[in-house]
Symmetry: C2
Subunit: 304 residues, 2 copies
Amino acid sequence: MSFFVQFLGTGSALPKENAHPSSQYIFCQNRHFLIDCGEGTQIQLRKYGIKIQKIDAIFISHLHGDHYFGLVGLLSSMHLLGRNKKINIYGPPPLDQIIRSQIEVGGARLDFQIDFHPIDDLFEGLIFEDKVLEVKTFRLKHKIPTHGFIIQEKAKPRHLISDKFKDSGLSIAFIVPFKNSQDVVDETGVIWKYLDFTTASKKSGSYAYCSDTAYSESIIDHIQNVDVLYHEATFTNHYVSRAKTTKHSTAEQAAQIAQLAKAGTLFIGHLSARYDDPKQHILEAQAFFQNVKYAEEGQIFRIC
Amino acid sequence: MSFFVQFLGTGSALPKENAHPSSQYIFCQNRHFLIDCGEGTQIQLRKYGIKIQKIDAIFISHLHGDHYFGLVGLLSSMHLLGRNKKINIYGPPPLDQIIRSQIEVGGARLDFQIDFHPIDDLFEGLIFEDKVLEVKTFRLKHKIPTHGFIIQEKAKPRHLISDKFKDSGLSIAFIVPFKNSQDVVDETGVIWKYLDFTTASKKSGSYAYCSDTAYSESIIDHIQNVDVLYHEATFTNHYVSRAKTTKHSTAEQAAQIAQLAKAGTLFIGHLSARYDDPKQHILEAQAFFQNVKYAEEGQIFRIC
């Protein structure tokens, strides 16, 4: 599995024993990301055997406590466990000072660098990119500035037909261009076609995270055709007006977004603590989008 | 049970699934206190069925995250659950701003009042008093300013011998002075002795909390004859030098303090995450103090 999500906490603002506040671990081609880091995330990471020192970057959607109160504790534990590798944190601008003041007041000095990347309230676009993936952010519709994230794998290299390439006697310098869909002209002027030596690349996957948000069609452009969409579904239809006033979504609204965005799979979570199970949410969502699942704590789901 | 402690978290700085960071719930004659509030305390409170809205006061020993990172989350949940009753928080002065800035940045407005009572770095003495108990604080010896707490029940009223009092035909106005060990002179000049109408009052209990601290005999005066002492025991003797440099205690040192203070029962906790069980700690402590127990998560212990 080269790209998966593991749900660490999919509860809402009032955590329960089996409904921890928001946090998700994303593994993508040896990149290790966290999205949101609610209270107790470090304990959840330990529970599920995820090595905290491998985490390269943490993305915080907004400054409601159930989405970031576990962050400074996690950073402190990284320090205590001997981390010296830099970490990148992406989130609302005031988060930088919150982190630094709590570390300072505790008399601690972290042995690793925090690169804080502020996401301004109105910003939408690329926030991270390397050779295999990119992360973009977009605005959600909540009580305070809140951002969603989409992680997209870049086009993968085509697959070399090794035997055929060997038999051709061509220089290994041809491999990289072939894998990157480029024909190569040799010194005699002959054109070697990548299509003759490679097969199609593996599909690239994408994952989008939308929590917390009211129903907002402006999200759709940003997550069009996403393979896996996590969208909050705090309420059932019975509380649709409460969803509106608190700027959260119903399961039906999450499903509508998934349908309009032509998502592959929809995961719902962030259910209000008033619900004991997600049955009704799933039922209501399925009226609009068949492939809906509940984001159960601990569950690993393969994206690609 | 009118006075007990329940251990919510007795782990050290690196929490594990069954070793949550520090927090203890104290019930004393219908007063509900928390001492320390590490990350995840609100989930532990729910797990053990403790009603969070009943908590009257929270005492924070120091500003290392494993002792307070659960505080703002707990306050937020109190708000979401409709609290309007004031809460008292006692702790290091910078804590006030930490709480307020995190609430403010989340766009929240709490519907209840927080009365923050700063405990200055060098302060020792009374911080809370009502008609049935008092709470005093004293300095521990740690890397940053850290305070211990002792909760002491005041002398309880004597027990009225109801039948005898009834037969005497005396006015009910005599009851309160009798219970408070006062003789009463009636209008004819006769002296009525409280000893004739009451039996001895029930014992008053006391509980002391000392975490985190290096071995420090200056604690002893403050906790003399305490019924139940919780004292951190991060290390076994094997790591005595590490205890010294990190300003923590060994189990043996905790036992020495208990012995010198003539404590009734010693609970040890805050064991380093390197230990899987407290057996060696208990063994080493028992060489100095027989009545030692491990403060297991969830355990309730009657103080009086």
